[in-house]
Structures are given as C-alpha cells and as structure tokens.
C-alpha cells in the first residue's frame, strides 16, 4: 500500500490558477468561435494572473515561517510568495500590453502559453530541490521558446526561437550536470540537505556549484552568458520580450539567491567572488554594448544585461540586506522594463516595422502620454530620482557597501554614468528630433487607439513612480521575505 502524500493546495494555488487559465484558453482556441477567441483567451488569462497574484498575496500573509512541502520538493515561504506576486502582476500587465498585437493566428495558444510560462515561473521560485528546480526551469523555458517563435510569419521570430532553444538547452544541460555533481558530492537533492551534508572542500561540490551558477546565469542573462539575449529580445514578439525581460529575470534571480544561500552557505566565500565577477562583466559589457545600438529592443536587451549586473550585486552582498535590496529592485525594474517594451510595441504597431532610435523621433511630442511614460522608464533605469530606480540602486549599493564591497559600488556608479549615454539618447530622440525631419509619418493615418495598452503603460508608470514615494511598504515586504532565507 502506498501512502499518498498530502498536498498543500494553497501553496500550489498560484500555479494551479495559472495552469487552469492556460487550459481554458487552450480550449477556447479550439471550441470558441473565431471572432471571440482572442477576447475569451485574453480575458481568462488576465483573470488567471490576477487570481494568482491575489493567491500569492494570501500565501505571503499566511506563511510567517517557511514550510517544506511534499518531501522537500518545494517550499512555501514569503520570498517565493512575494516574487510570485511580482511575476503575476507582470504577467497581467503583459496580457494587457499584448491585446492589440497584430497576429494572424494562434491567439488562444499565445495566451495559453503565456499563462503556462507564468505558472512555471511561479512554481520555479518555490522549488526546494535540484530536481524541481531543473523541471521548473524547463517548464517555463519551453513555453518561452514557443512564445518567442510564435510570430511564425516573421523569419526573425523563428530564428530567435531556435537560438533561444539552443542556448537555453545548453544552459540547462550545464545546470543539470552541475546538479548531478552536487548530488554526487552530498547524496542529496534538497537545498537544505545539501547545506547540512556539507562535505568541506569537496571538488565535486565546487564544480557543481560553478556549473549551477553558470546555468542560472544564462537565464538571468548575466554576461558572459548573455549572448542569446540581444537576438532573442529583438526577434521575439515585443510583448513576449517584455515578459521575458521582467519575469524570467525576476524568477531566475530569486532562485539563484535561494540556491546560493540555502544550499551553499559554507561556500559563500567562493560564490560571492564568482558573482562579483559576473557583476563586473555584466555591467561593463551590457552598458558599453548598449551605447552602440540603434535598434531600441536590442538597446533594452543590453540594458537588461546591465541591470542583471546590478541585481547580482545584491546577491554578491550575501546578506539579508542584499536580499531585501534585490527584492525591492525587482519591483520598479519589472515595471520599467515591461513599460519600456510596451512603448516600443506602440511605435512598432504604428510604423509596422522594427523600432530604431530614428523612428522614435518626435514621439514625445506626437504622443505626450507615451512620451512621458518612456521618459519615466528611461530615467528610472538610469537611476534618476522620482522613480523607484533610484532607490533600487541605492539599496543595492548600500547592501554592497555594508558587506565591504565598496569597490563594487564604485563600479556600479561608473556603469550608471555610462548608461546615461544611451538612456538619455532615447529621450533625446523622442524630444529633440522632430518627427517631420525624418518623414516617418505613422503608416496608415492616425494610430489606432489602444486603451488596454494605455492601461498597461499607466500601471507601469504608477509602479515606477509609486515605488519611489512608497518605498517603505515594499521594503517591509521585502524584509519579511528575506527573513525566510537562512542568512
């Protein structure tokens, strides 16, 4: 007789909600008549994401101390719940932003896969052993591979999908090989058990740690594991890019933090240095390469690499303060990044062609709302005041300084200085070049109104600015969440 394990449905509920939404959307793609397919699918998935956010909030509320579930397969704690809220809200905004995406077909599948990817990420951040970690990673990655390639009529989309699949497959193979080594060294898969086994200076363990770190670095697109990022971000449908840049990064960052802190506390001297090296390379490469970009999606891709550097700086701090800083950083970063790609999507839909800096000319005056929104996002990413970007950088720098990494602070400051070059360049193109100069009148007369996208961008602006003024509540939640990790 086999004892069936008890399942904590509340802990799984955000994932289940999204999976359910995904299933309904998929059915809709088949059953519902053509004309209302998109609205049904989008509506259901939007509800799914909102529901997941609410449920994750409930989990956060009801979980003062971490609980390990299902024989160590997953953990129910606040850091996971908080990240799930961020992921689910990001997903909901992306659903709004993708409403008016021009796509010939596959609407039901698009939303179903978006929800499935969301469900995967939501699960991924609560994974508590190497097996569920790997499976969660593959779960959302496979969804993303398809999503990236979904615009099958565009060659670049398919190419980007293939590239992402190959590089992602390579990355997960490295991660898997590392996991196998760690398993070999300790005989355990669970994070806490790995830490408890603690075979000091075991070469297998160290090699495994290095490979797990590298595998996750692929997903957070930290240099030098970023080579797929620009191509994939550029080729993917813009709303998918928005989702990847915000959600994938958030989920993978939090998981990296969790793995390093819970499974490898005794090796912290080694991995803090490794992460610090990633920080330096990401900041240098991301920022310098971004300076040379003309295509806005590529520019934002490199910018996201440099942001990965800032977030890793919080991980390198290896302290509760660092964890708080990372979780705070994710809030404005997700908003800014989704928002910026949404503005790119606006322009893309107007012009029916890829958005370069030149094609942003005059946007600020033609479309004041989108202009101000993009301005806000760019300033926020550069860490200017009145946006959460400033506090994100400040908290990260504080954590790094507090841990004695003052040199990382200086590198971060230098990187920020370089980043101004391209962020302000975007603003310059929007406001200081008249659109008429370049004869890029919107294709087909006045642009279509798109209230859903407006709402999405408005929400992103609200979070970007709101996280500046109301930093304390977010930081409180982040502190509660960080407390669930064993520092």
């Amino acid at each position: 007789m086999i004892d069936t394990p008890t399942v904590d449905w509340l802990a799984l509920s955000p994932s289940v909600a999204l999976l359910g939404a995904s299933g309904v959307a998929l059915l809709a793609a088949v059953i519902v008549p053509d004309w209302m397919r998109k609205s049904v699918a989008a509506g259901v998935v939007l509800i799914g994401f909102v529901l997941a956010a609410v449920l994750a909030g409930v989990v956060f509320d009801e979980t003062p101390t971490p609980e390990v579930l299902l024989d160590g397969s997953m953990v129910r704690d606040r850091i996971a719940a908080l990240t799930q809220v961020i992921l689910a809200v990001t997903g909901a905004v992306v659903v709004l932003a993708s409403w008016a995406e021009r796509r010939r077909d596959n609407h039901g599948e698009y939303y179903a896969l978006l929800a499935a990817a969301g469900a995967g990420m939501v699960f991924f951040v609560s994974a508590d052993n190497l097996m569920t970690l790997f499976l969660g990673l593959e779960w959302f990655s496979l969804c993303l591979y398809i999503l990236v390639a979904l615009d099958t009529e565009r060659a670049t989309s398919l190419e980007a999908g293939l590239k992402y699949l190959i590089v992602g497959g390579f990355g997960s193979a490295v991660l898997l090989f590392g996991s196998a080594f760690v398993y070999g060294a300790t005989g355990e898969l669970g994070f806490a058990e790995i830490a408890a086994a603690n075979p000091t200076d075991d070469v297998f363990l160290l090699a495994g740690l290095a490979m797990i770190l590298a595998g996750l670095a692929f997903k957070v697109s930290a240099a030098p594991f970023h080579m797929w990022t620009p191509d994939v971000y550029q080729g993917a449908p813009t709303s998918v890019t928005a989702f990847m840049s915000a959600a994938t990064k958030a989920a993978a960052m939090v998981v990296m933090l969790r793995v390093l802190v819970t499974a490898f506390p005794d090796q912290s001297e080694i991995w803090t240095i490794a992460v610090a090296v990633l920080v330096c390379i990401s900041l240098a490469w991301g920022n310098l390469a971004a300076l040379a970009q003309r295509d806005v999606k590529r520019l934002l891709a490199y910018s996201s690499i440099s942001h990965a550097g800032f977030m890793l700086m919080a991980i390198a701090a290896d302290s509760e303060r660092g964890a708080e800083a990372l979780l705070y950083y994710l809030v404005p970063y997700s908003a800014m990044s989704v928002g910026a790609f949404a503005v790119v999507a606006v322009r893309e839909r107007e012009l029916q062609r890829p958005v370069t800096l030149e094609s942003l000319a005059g946007l600020g005056w033609e479309r004041p709302f989108y202009g101000i929104a993009m301005w806000t996002f760019m300033l926020g990413m550069a860490g200017f005041p009145l946006t959460g970007g400033l506090f994100g950088k400040l908290f990260v720098f504080s954590a790094a300084y507090d841990s004695g990494d003052w040199w990382l602070v200086l590198i971060g400051v230098a990187a920020t200085a370089v980043s101004l070059g391209y962020y302000l360049n975007v603003v310059r193109w929007m406001y200081m070049r008249a659109g008429g100069e370049l004869r890029l009148a919107p294709a087909g007369g006045s642009p279509p109104t798109d209230p859903a996208l407006g709402v999405a961008i408005g929400a992103a602006v609200l979070v970007t600015v709101g996280s500046f003024f109301a930093a304390q509540p977010i930081l409180d939640a982040a502190a509660d969440a960080a407390a669930s990790l064993p520092f």
Binding site: M131, L158, A160, I166, G169
Partner: protein, 102 residues
C-alpha cells in the same frame, strides 16, 4: 560491485559532455546542434545514474527519468522550429540565421 569503479563512468560522462558541448558550439546545422544538446543531457543522465549507484539512492534515477522526458519535449519543440523554418524557406544555419545581427 563488479567491474569498473564509478569514477570510470564519470570520466565517460565528462568526455561525452565535452563532446556535446563542442558540437553545440562548433556546428552550424541546427539539427546537429540539437543532437549535440541531447548528448549533453545524456552525459548528465549518466552522471546522475552513476552517482545514484554510488549512493545507493534512487533519487538520481528518478531525476534522470524526468530529464529524459524533458529532453524529449525539448527535441519536439526544436524539431517543430526547424520544420517551421524550413516551411518558411529560411536558411538552416544557426550562425548565418540572421537578420538578427548588429
């Protein structure tokens, strides 16, 4: 245990992993690159199973079984992409596959 030590299996797995990695990085045909990632995953599986034997613990085997399923899924999507690209008459070359340069 009869026969070779676990270490020998690990050496084989490591060599296999390296061969696969080289294939991914050096080959241009997406089909062969996809096959190379399969080799990498299989190398990881061999490691997992070898360690499972070493530890006398079935977790490694379970992990390997899950990896097999995932690898199959990855292949399915990869092949789907390749077929879709062929139908769209896109040159199948991962290095040259690129309007995405610059």
């Amino acid at each position: 245990m009869d026969g070779p030590d676990i270490g020998w299996y690990l050496i084989v797995a490591a060599l296999l992993f390296g061969i696969g990695a080289l294939g991914v990085m050096m080959r241009r045909s997406p089909l062969i690159v996809l096959l190379s990632t399969e080799i990498m995953l299989n190398a990881a599986n061999l490691t997992l199973i070898a360690f499972a034997r070493q530890q006398g613990d079935l977790d490694g085997q379970i992990f390997a079984l899950a990896v097999m399923a995932v690898a199959a899924a990855e292949v399915a999507i990869g092949l789907g992409l390749i077929v879709a690209m062929a139908r769209r008459r896109i040159v199948l070359d991962v290095d040259q596959a690129s309007a995405l340069r610059g």
